[in-house]
Structures are given as structure tokens and as C-alpha cells.
Symmetry: C2
Subunit: 796 residues, 2 copies
């Protein structure tokens, strides 16, 4: 178990003492104190819940400094120094560890080393170095993953600050502290006027925004904002019955339909008046992201807005469109004084974000992170940084691939129209529903036409939903987070964006974790929250803490060793060396090519899958795992067991010479690691349920980490899908003749994956992917010319 | 989907109006108002978050009363009545439903009927009946499962009450409302003096107790208490490496060892002084049970205490012992003024529970519920009722069965000593650890001797841990909750207790849900929380609301139909008729006996299981599902497919004539329903994540319910295990001769299970249960004389 830490900065001794005095750990006249008094004072401070000297004495008496005596016994003896072991025995208990279980009182440093925790190199702790040791301890991660100083905050250490006459941001080790009274947070709802009229009712759309801000803003504190554009904020409609059927045959594409993306319906921007009324509506919804809440306790306002078409807002959802980008951006314009907002939808009274310091960060995962990326590409003033997690960078890469309709995992039948309807939460106000539904239905028809599930081809509809076209406009710093096993928003979304961002003069950081479509702010193995604290203090509050160069540009979580992160300069094929494996006879995947022949498999579409009535997850487990009943529908190629571990980086590329028995066809390939062994769990496991406190009595988060699990037979590394009609051009479908061979070349999802010694690299070639592709009603025979087929991977 | 409701009481019209006026929904002079003004007023009240008339107008304008107009439009027209559909269209939106998705504006009542929601039978809603309709609506369950009035509370409706000069409990429909300011809850830690000296240090043990109480107690409010005796409250020790190995051969029992349970080490009780100091320690831990938190918002104090040996307390854990019962009871004595407590462990200053109204309820699940049961059997004064969920009633029924060591599911190797160590959280204070560890180790040796994993026999150690011996002392009312699929605390714990409680003059209610070892307060299909609210208002606050007879004594959740609950008078074999199935040749389970012969199977202990390196869960799925590789280690008997559904109730009983190839043996049987079909999910699925609000900005709970899941091949109905050496007497082991036949007769766990038409009832006879029994290192052949073997079930 390792508590890796990247967010702790080095601070000189003088500044350490200055900070300790400012935070009242040390009295100003600390130099006049005896060492033992200092010891009692400093350790006593760590128990703010003990309100009297007697209660503190009782507590310090229960903490062993070594095998024979408590720390209080040492204090009573008026010692002038204590041993390093004395200090760290006490420290470990403060950090939440248990003597006799987690550590041995004879050797506390063993645990510090094992858990990668920092400690002071000194045989004795005395008047000279106690400040360093204490400062370091406060900035050490406790067993619950949070800094000890945050644990103190949760116990009420900073309650006296809540009553400050002149509230201000307070820092420790370059990071912002929770010194604001979360029981008094002000919750407001206001209505920003958009320039858009997406429902074409002649009125500019109003955009509801929800604001959580510290009560201290009423005492002249001006605060930065964490803004999450969240289309789910207002709730969702139940669209389960509206999903597209995927149980249909592929269409033979005879010509690529053309789609013209209409321009947004924009009106002239209103000029703000001087009016600044008090909002008339109290927010009743709760924040949804623990990272945002953590910063709310630290004085940041949190702003959530659903955007056009969502609850309390006008307009219609236009999933992934420029209109969605515009309306998400307009909230920032109001936050920075450049746009008007009203107190109600009656549009009578204007209100201002007078409490804002003008600096905004956007956060969010999935669609929310997507909109953060989208807004960044507008270059809007005031947006200083973006933390974009598991975000779509092009909607074609979310719902399509290489000329095929390809669903995100467990989202079969979903598409832009379905997601639009799901998020059209202003329907929940029934009178709005009655008024908006007819026009909404028209818009949905346009989305259905544009998204074109018939051909699956790239067109202007998708081009308008590719944020990468506008990357050059990005002016803010940018943090990307993505799971290497995210089969919802697949990793090529972040991979391609990363490569575009490399060309810009902005600071860009990338985190690649081992999760699927999950947040990473609660992982045990990395102090993500602290890193973001450092980052936001720098970007939004101007603190000179070196955040931008504090950690490597790319941090990648290891897939074999728990709690291990790799530093990289980039993420690309160039990290490795191209290695080509040939598809040989006898199911061999080999660097040398044999006299391979031609092999066929018969795809039966969704037939067998429906007959078995199993889940998509179970299907993938059986199909890729090589269960006998599925072998007829695939070709499998396996390498020899590896002599040494191999790390694959970047995007594997396959070359398949293939024919179809029909005038159409879909090819799928999966690259897997074969071999029964214990692997890390697919999702992070709870290490400490609700063990992290976001502030003082203010919500919790659970510490989690990937942990070794029961043995499995294989692990998916990367997948790819290809429409056979796009053999010559990924954007133009051509006719194919049944039985004729075509050369398909396409890249799989990007990866960063280590295969351990003795496992096998395997490639599965198939057609219907029950969880992602359409499931034809007809059978198709695919024939692969192995001699002309191969896969190229990049090995590190 | 059904929102069944048992906790709504009938209130006469005059009282309804009185309540509506008291809660400020109606002005005192309501009779002078026009109907349309009343309508605007009443519906406007349901949006406390809208702070101005303009904002309320905006909101009511967005709610359709029918397909053409909003409710506000009707109000503006000065209507003198509205249609039933008008009212319930608005009502559904208030309850969280979506027009066009969940319901049709032309027929709102269809949803009321489908969801089992109450509505007023009246064509028109007018001045005469609007109060009834409105009152009923406030006490209707919203889509999130909570009452509409609780949803209003979450939106701040009762915030004005927070400032009451003379705080008091406020009721609606017989239930307590959240009118207390949860941001100001007082959190204290005190130390109750026990009469016990379990660590034999010559000093009476101090018991730490954590108190959460409304700030309003400082303004003379005296409050009832929800007390949870929670041995995990102070944290747990990591005992994973200390588990007993179950990979060992059975022991041939030559004589039953005798164990003498020592008497508790009790000292004289101290007499309270008049001193009543303010506590010196603030509580830093958080409540763990959403039901408790819900009542905290409603003015109940919550008290948590870990008991002897836990963090902050003296003493040692004696898992399941009378000492644990005593110390849990002593907290109540302090709460009712009959015991002293100190402000610190220094024992210098006494403090009293002056804020208590003297009425206590105990709550909790598993070990926590167990201690609630245990304390009830002391008859302690002040304990008015118990809500005991998934509780152990005899520790032998938790860790043993019929002469065998039988683990709770996923707890192989655990036993009383392990659980004791797990909960010995005063070890977390390292100086306490050093001081206590040597004596603790001695106590553990005594537990190991007493629990006797060698023979598995019942002895005085277990007799002392059988709370059913003291049932006659119970004086309080009693609510039992248990999952019919709880393989941790197995259902016979509650079944046997129920039968004992029947003989007492107390009110006892039983809930049997379809979950495993889970709470049920957040289920969609039943208003458990509201029922408990009614119950506690009656039992602890003396409200005459008819709670004790409001719902049937036994409520059982159906295993086939989601959202369905059955009413019963009791739970016993007598609900059904005894039906005997014979074990015939050709794997037949039949009511007629054929000329059945002798069949053998070979048990290989843990060998194959370990070789396969699979989880216990996966083993059970394969083994009971009839996977080929496991068939040699079992005998299977299957009925013909059922012609009609059959409900099994009570405890099936098997009779097996069996011989072992060794002088020892363990027999397991599992009764299963065979047949591939969609069944309800094993655990309740999240319907609305964090959708329930426990108060005003005060924690959330997720609405959950069992839902149809992907098909599975079988479902476990009941299991049982039997030591062959106990063939003649479950408490005395006898010698057995290899190859000789013995008649075993034993009951399985109790059940209430309906097998649908076309499925098969099946009995699996085997030996090693990888998840529960020891896993011998040697092979054993068991031979069953089918002609002399049968199973008797009770069919309803």
C-alpha cells in the first residue's frame, strides 16, 4: 500500500514557522517555551475535540511514545528532546494507524517507508527541528487519504476562523484551508439570459444557474468559482422505451448522405443595467461532486447549470452542438460581469454575481467534463483552468467508429437524440412540456437525420460536434483525467485531445487511471484532491506555489502493481517501439510469419445472444474468454507465453485482409491478455467507507483503491471496430463485392498496459459486438487472409 | 411499481384542518378566502424555496392543470372548483412525476392506481373537500419514497420553526416532523461508569458514549433517545491474518468437553452525586444509520456506545457475553438518571443526561440489533421499544449448527474470539493497547476454549450466549426485521425468537424482506421509516396514533412479484401443510416413494475448491447449479416441474439415513428452486441515488428496491448442516462406525418462498460447504439410504 504524494511542496523553515503561527499551532512567543511545553502544546493542538486541559491530558496519556510510556509521560518528565521513534509513534496514531496491527512501536519508520509517507531524517526531535517535523506531519496523508491538517479541520480546528471579522482565504503548504462556515452556505437560483433562442419562440432562452457560495461573501470576501456545466442537474427523463433498436441488419451504403448543420439562432446580446437585486429563489438541489464540495468548504463558490432545455431553463437540447457550448460559456460571462441575469423567469429584475472574483475553473466527468472541454475551446474570458474527466472530445468518437454505429458500453440504442431527450428536463415542468414538446419533436427529427444511424458515416453533423476543431482557441490551463478501462467514453477521446493540446502554449496535465468511467479524487494511491487544491490556488487565487511544475505532465496508474503511478512526458506510440505480430495458422500470433492460409468465421448477429438471454457483460466474458459455444463466431490468435513483461503504449493498429459474404460488413477486433491470474479489481474497492471528511460536518467521501481480485481468465486491453465499406476511406463508404478481399487498416483504442511474464497476448477477430455494434438478424461469413493480416503494437 | 403505505393514519376533517392551521398551510381565517385564493395559497405553500409572490407565480405557471392550461391560469380565472384531474395533475408533479413520461395529463389517476397511491374520490375539488385532498396529498409518498411533507421539509418549509422560542415536537398525521435546526446539533462524548471490571484492573470500566442531541434541548426541550449499542462505533482492528483456518479435517469427538462460564466481575454500583458538569469532549464520529439521522432531525437524541473494550472505553470484549449485555444496558441507566457518568476518563467530574425525557428505543442491524435484543432481555427501565434488524438471538445459531462449526456467509474462519478482537478498538489508543494486550490475550484463550472449534458442540459457553433463555424478562415492545436471504445472521435467529416472544404480553411485529444482511428503511415498496415514526411517536412520546395496531403483526415481502407484501398473523410451519418428498432413484424428489436404493458420493473437502481458486460465491453458483465438475461430490433430487405455484413456509425438515467412511462426518443439504428464469435481484437496486433527504440539508439516503434481474439457473431456498456424530442428540456427540447407517433428522433454515409454476423443487445432499463448513484435507465417502430418507416441507 502506497500513499503517493505529489501535492506537498517544499517550504523553508522560516515560512513553516510563519504558517504555524498564523494557524495558531504555535504562539508568537514560542521561542520562550521549554521543549516539553512545546511538545504538549503542539500535540494538544491536534485534539481540538478535547476542550479542556484535562481532556487533552487524558488523550495524550493514551498515546504510546514507545513500548513503555505515553507521550504525556515524556512531557511530564520535562524532556529536552525525544527520539525520532517517539515522535513517529505518536505521529502514526495521529494519522490513524494502530500499534500492534499496522505498525510496531519499536519501528514506526517501517510503516512510513512501506506507505511512502514522508518523515524527518533526524535521530532526535528537539527545539531545533520539531517545527519541521510537525509541519511535515500536518502535510502528511493520513490513513484515510487526507492530509492530517484536513483531518484536524474535520474535527473542528478551524471553527474559530468561522467567526473572523474579515474573512479571507487561508493557506497551508500552498493549499487552501477550510476556514469557512459550511452551515451557512448561501444557496441561490438565478436565470442568465442567453443570446440563443433555441426553441424559436422569439425570446432569448433563459438559463437557470444554481449558486452555492460561502456566507462570508456577504462580508466582502470575493471568491473564485468552480463551475460544472451539468445537463443532468435538473433531473432526467426516462427514455428507456425510446432507445433505438440495435437488432437490425447493417445497411449497404450506396451513397453517403449529406447533412448541413444549421447555424445557431443567435440574437443581440443585452447590455447589463446597474440593477442588482437579491435572488428570489433558494436552491434545493445538492452538489453532486465531492471535489466541488471540498472546495466549497474552502471558500470557492460552486455553480451548476444544466443549459438549454434543462429544468428551469428555456430551449431545447441539441446534444453536443455549438449551442450547448455557447450556453455553457454564457454562465461564465455572467460570473465575470459580462452578461445579464434575472431573479425569476419573469425577466423583470436583474441580479449580478457581485461576490465573484472573476476567476472560474470548470470541473466535471463525462458529459460534464465534455462541456468543460467545449467551453475551453471558446477561449471565454475568466475561465482560468479546466479539470475535464472522462470527457468526450468528439461525439463521433462517442457514438460511432470507423463508419459504424458503436455504443458506449451498456448504452446500446442510445444516440444524440436519446441523450438530448434524457436531458430535456424542462419537460418536468408540465406546462413547459406542453408548450415545448411539438418543437422539441421537430428538433429530434433533425438530430435523427443528422446522426444517421443508417450509414454510421462521419458528416457535418459530427464535424460540428468535434471540439478538436477549435482546440486552437483554448487559452486556459487544462487537466485531463481518463480511465484506461473506460468503455463508455473511450480513451481515444482524451488521447486525440492530448495530441492537439501539445501544440498550444498552455499548461496541460494528463492523469490516466485504471478505472472505467469513474472519478479519481478519492483514490488512496495518489493525492489528486491536494494536487487540484494546489493547482486551483495557483490558477484562481494567484498563489505562487509552483503548482504548474509540481508534478510530471503525464501520470499513469500501473495495471499490475496496486498503488503505483508512472511519470511520462507524453502518451503516444513514440513511447514504445513498433512491433508487428502476424496472424498465423493454428491460432498463432507471432513476430515471424508462417505460410498462413485463409480462415473463415460465421457471424450470426444477435441470434445466439438473444437465445441465451445473458447480459452484455456476461457475453463479453464468455466470448473473449474463449467459451466453446462462441468459437465459431470468431478467429483467435495467441502469442507464446511471454518470456518477460511487455508494456503496450499508444494505439495498436490492425491490418486485416478480409471478405464478407454480403455487400456489407462490420469487423471487430479485441486485443486481450490471456492467462488465468489475479488482476486488479475492475473498479476501485472501498478502503474506508465515508472515511474522508470534506469539511467540518460537511459531507464525506469514501477512500478507494484498485485491489487484487479473484483470478480471471483474461483482460481486455483494447478494442476497435470497422465498417468494411470504409476500407479505402474512413469518411467515404464504397461498394464491396461479396467474396472479394479488402484491406482494412484501423487503430484500436489507445492503451498503456503491461502484460506480465507468462501471459499471452491474443487478438480476437469477430463481427457482432453484442455490447457495442448493431446485432444483425442475418448471418454473415467473414473470411480473413491471414498472410495479409497483422497487428502492430508499440512496446515499451 | 407499488408504493405500499402502512403508516398513514385516518384523521377526521376537523383535526385535519387543525393540523393544517398549526403547520401554517392554512391561515386561521381560511374560511373568509375565495376558493381560488385558497388554491393559490395552498399550492404556493408547497414551494418554500420560492421566496416571493413573483417567484411562486412563475412556478405555478409552469405546472399544467390539464392539457391546455396551468394551475396558475385557473387561479387567475377565479374558479370556484377544479376537476379531480386538475388537482391530481398538479399533485403528481409535486410528487416528482413527469407528465408525458410517467403519466398522461388526461388521466392522472391511472398512475395513482398503478402505484397504489391514495387519492380523494370526488369529481370536483372545491371549498368543501380541498382540505381533505390537500391533507391526503401531504401524507402521500412521493416518487422518492418519502412523504410529500418530508420533501417540503427538505426544501426548508420548517425553517421558521427552527427559531421557535419554546421548541416542541410537532406532528402531522400522527408522525413527528423535522422542525429542529440540524446545523446546531450538539455532539458530546461522556464516560459512563459500569459496575463491571472486565479487565480486572481493580477499577470499574468506563464506557464511552457519544451523544447527538438537538440544540433545542438547551431551551428546555426534553427528548427521547434512539440508542444504538454499536461495537464497531470506535473502529475495528484488522484481524484478517488472525482468522482460524478452516482447511482442517473434522475431529472425531470422543467426549464432549465441559465448559464452565465464569460469572461477571461486578462491583458495587456508585451513587450519583448532584454534580452535573458540561462535557469536555466534542464527538467527532458521525452517525451511521440513516434511520437514526432521520429521527435526529425530528428532535430525538441519538446515542452510540461501543461498550467494553471499544475505543475510549475500558475493559475487554467478551463477544456475546452477559457482560456485553450489561454494559449496553448501563448506558440506558445513565440516560434515565440511574447511573453516573464522567466528563473524562480521569473520573473527576460527573455529568448527567438532563436533556433526556427518559424514554429510549434501541435500534441497529446485525451485532447492533443483537445487542438491542440482549438489552431488551434485561427488562431495563426506560427502554420502551426495540427495532432489532438482522439480529442474532443465540450465538450458537450464528457460528455453529447441529454440532458443526458453520460460518456466516463470507466469514470463514471467524469466531467469537476473532470478532472480539475485531471490536477491541481501545487497542487503537496505543498506550491502552500496551496496558491491555496481555490480559486481553488471556481472555481470548478463554474464548477459544469456550467456543470449542474442535467439537462444534453446544456447551455452557453458548448457553450463556443464548438470549432466548431470558426472553421472559422483556418488557418493551419489539420490532424484528430480517432478510429471508440473510446467510450471515441466518433467519432461524429471528424465527426462534419470534416464537418465544409470542408467549409474552408485549406488542411484537415482524418484517421479513427479500434482502440478505441489509437494512430495509429505504425500500420503495414499503414506508418502513414512516411506520417507525408512527411507532416511536407512540412509544416514546405518548402520541395516541394507534401505531400498535396500524399494520399486521407479520409483513412478508414476496419473492416473485416486486413491490408486494403479504400480511400474516405469524410465521411458522402452521401456516402451511406438511408435505413429504421422498428421495427416489434417478434423482427424483417425489411425493410417492419408489423402490429407492443406496447411493454414495465422495467428498474431497477443500481440495478441488482450492485447485480451482474460485470465490465461495462462485463455488456455490457452480455447485448448487449442478455444474458437471461438482456432481461427484453431491446427490441431487429434483421434483417434476410444478403444475402450480407452491409457497413453502416455516422450517423444512430432512430425514437422512446415512453412513460415513470415517468415524466422523458433516452433512449439508440445500433446498433450491431449479429453473432458468428471471428472478428478483439479490440485493435492492438503487432507484433514486441519494434521493431521500433526512432533514433540511442533513444527509441523504438512496431509494432502493428489488427488481427483476437477468435469468439465473436456480435460487437457494434454505440450507442446513448436521454433524453425523450428533445423530441421536444435537447436544451430545456419539461415536459412529464407518459404514454403519445413522438416521439424521434436522431442520433447515426457515423460509417463506414461492416456487412459480414450471420450476422444480430440488434437494442437494453434500458434505463440505466451502463457504460455511470446515474443508477437510481428506476424502470421505457418504452413502445415503434413499428409501429411508425424505424431506418434509410446509406448503401453503
Amino acid at each position: 500500500m502506497k500513499y503517493n504524494q505529489y501535492g506537498r511542496i517544499n517550504v523553508g523553515q522560516a515560512d513553516q514557522i510563519k504558517e504555524l503561527i498564523a494557524l495558531k499551532f504555535l504562539p508568537a512567543e514560542y521561542e520562550t517555551l521549554e521543549f516539553s511545553d512545546l511538545l504538549g502544546l503542539l500535540f494538544g493542538k491536534l485534539f481540538p475535540e478535547q476542550k479542556t486541559i484535562g481532556a487533552k491530558r487524558q488523550t495524550l496519556s493514551a498515546i504510546a511514545a514507545d513500548e513503555t510510556q505515553s507521550i504525556f509521560a515524556l512531557i511530564e518528565q520535562h524532556v529536552t528532546e525525544i527520539t525520532q521513534n517517539n515522535f513517529y509513534n505518536v505521529a502514526l496514531q495521529l494519522l490513524g494507524y494502530h500499534a500492534g496491527y499496522d505498525y510496531d512501536l519499536g519501528n514506526p519508520l517501517a510503516l512510513f517507508k512501506e506507505h511512502n509517507l514522508p518523515f524527518l531524517q533526524a535521530n532526535k526531535i528537539n527545539q531545533e527541528n520539531i517545527f519541521n517535523a510537525y509541519y511535515l506531519l500536518l502535510s502528511t496523508r493520513a490513513k484515510n487519504g487526507q492530509l492530517l491538517i484536513d483531518h484536524l479541520a474535520a474535527k473542528g480546528y478551524f471553527v474559530p476562523w468561522f467567526k473572523a471579522e474579515k474573512p479571507q482565504f487561508v493557506y497551508f503548504n500552498g493549499k487552501i484551508l477550510p476556514v469557512f462556515d459550511t452551515t451557512k452556505i448561501i444557496r441561490e437560483v438565478i436565470y442568465v439570459e442567453s443570446d440563443l433562442d433555441t426553441d424559436h419562440d422569439g425570446q432569448k432562452d433563459l438559463l437557470q444557474a444554481t449558486i452555492f457560495r460561502p456566507q462570508e461573501t456577504e462580508q466582502n470576501l470575493r471568491v473564485p468559482i468552480l463551475y460544472t456545466a451539468n445537463p443532468y442537474w435538473g433531473g432526467t427523463n426516462d427514455v428507456d422505451d425510446h432507445l433505438h433498436s440495435v437488432d437490425e441488419n447493417l445497411t449497404e451504403i450506396k451513397e453517403n448522405p449529406v447533412y448541413r448543420q444549421p447555424a445557431p439562432n443567435l440574437k443581440e446580446k443585452s447590455v447589463p443595467s446597474t440593477e442588482n437585486a437579491v435572488p428570489e429563489e433558494t436552491a434545493t438541489r445538492n452538489g453532486i461532486y465531492s471535489l466541488n464540495e471540498y472546495f466549497l468548504a474552502r471558500g470557492f463558490a460552486n455553480v451548476y447549470a444544466g443549459g438549454i432545455g434543462t429544468y428551469g431553463s428555456d430551449g431545447v437540447r441539441l446534444c453536443g452542438s455549438v449551442e450547448e457550448t455557447i450556453c455553457a460559456k454564457e454562465i461564465i460571462e455572467w460570473l465575470t460581469g459580462n452578461r445579464i441575469a434575472y431573479t425569476t423567469r419573469e425577466r423583470t429584475t436583474q441580479t449580478k454575481a457581485w461576490w465573484s472574483n472573476g476567476n472560474v475553473a470548470m470541473t466535471g466527468k463525462s458529459y460534464l467534463g465534455t462541456l468543460a472541454t467545449a467551453v475551453a475551446t471558446t477561449g471565454v474570458k475568466g475561465l482560468k483552468t479546466v479539470i475535464s474527466e472522462a470527457a468526450i472530445s468528439s461525439w463521433y468518437d462517442y457514438y460511432r467508429e470507423h463508419g459504424l454505429v458503436i455504443a458506449p458500453v451498456l448504452c446500446q440504442g442510445e444516440d444524440t437524440d436519446i441523450l438530448a431527450e434524457l436531458c430535456q428536463s424542462n419537460f418536468q415542468q408540465s406546462a413547459d412540456y406542453l408548450r415545448n414538446k411539438p418543437y422539441f419533436d421537430k428538433v429530434m427529427q433533425a438530430l435523427v437525420a443528422g446522426q444517421d444511424r443508417t450509414t454510421g458515416q462521419y458528416n457535418d453533423f459530427w464535424a460540428a460536434r468535434n471540439y478538436r476543431h477549435n482546440v486552437k482557441n483554448i487559452k486556459c490551463s487544462f487537466i485531463s483525467v481518463h480511465g484506461l478501462n473506460d468503455w463508455n467514453v473511450k480513451p481515444k477521446n482524451v488521447y486525440k485531445l492530448w495530441h492537439e493540446l501539445q501544440n498550444l502554449p498552455i499548461k496541460h496535465k494528463l492523469f490516466l487511471h485504471q478505472g472505467p468511467h469513474t472519478y479519481m479524487n478519492n483514490l488512496q494511491s495518489i493525492d489528486f484532491t491536494d494536487m487540484i487544491n494546489l493547482w486551483l490556488a495557483h490558477e484562481l487565487l494567484g498563489v505562487k506555489n509552483g503548482a504548474l511544475i509540481q508534478w510530471p505532465d503525464v501520470l499513469v496508474q500501473d495495471n499490475l502493481q496496486a498503488d503505483t503511478w508512472h511519470s511520462e512526458q507524453t502518451w503516444s506510440n513514440n513511447l514504445g517501439q513498433a512491433t508487428t505480430y502476424h496472424l498465423n495458422n493454428n491460432q498463432q500470433l507471432a513476430k515471424n510469419q508462417d505460410a498462413a492460409s485463409i480462415h473463415s468465421f460465421e457471424d450470426v448477429g444477435g441470434k445466439q445472444f438473444h437465445e441465451m438471454n445473458i447480459s452484455e457483460t456476461e457475453w463479453e466474458k464468455q466470448f473473449l474468454g474463449g467459451t466453446k459455444s462462441w468459437l465459431d463466431a470468431q478467429l483467435r490468435f495467441m502469442s507464446e507465453p511471454l518470456d518477460f513483461p511487455v508494456t503496450l503504449v499508444g494505439r495498436p493498429k490492425v491490418h486485416l485482409r478480409v471478405s464478407s459474404s454480403l455487400k456489407k460488413g462490420q469487423l471487430s477486433v479485441a486485443l486481450i491478455e490471456l492467462g488465468r491470474r489475479s488482476r486488479l479489481s475492475a473498479v476501485p474497492q472501498v478502503v474506508d467507507l465515508n472515511g474522508q471528511e470534506l469539511g467540518y460536518h460537511f459531507g464525506t467521501e469514501s477512500l478507494k483503491e484498485f485491489q487484487p481480485a479473484h483470478p480471471t481468465d483474461f483482460k481486455l486491453i483494447a478494442k476497435g471496430h470497422q465498417n468494411i465499406q470504409n476500407y479505402a476511406n474512413q469518411r467515404i463508404a464504397r461498394s464491396v463485392t461479396p467474396g472479394e478481399f479488402y484491406d482494412l487498416e484501423f487503430e484500436l483504442q489507445p492503451t498503456y498496459y503491461t502484460l506480465p511474464k507468462d501471459t499471452q497476448l491474443a487478438l480476437v477477430v469477430y463481427s457482432t459486438d453484442q455490447g457495442m455494434t448493431k446485432r444483425p438478424q442475418e448471418s454473415t461469413t467473414y473470411t480473413v487472409d491471414l498472410a495479409q493480416s497483422s497487428i502492430t503494437v508499440y512496446q515499451k
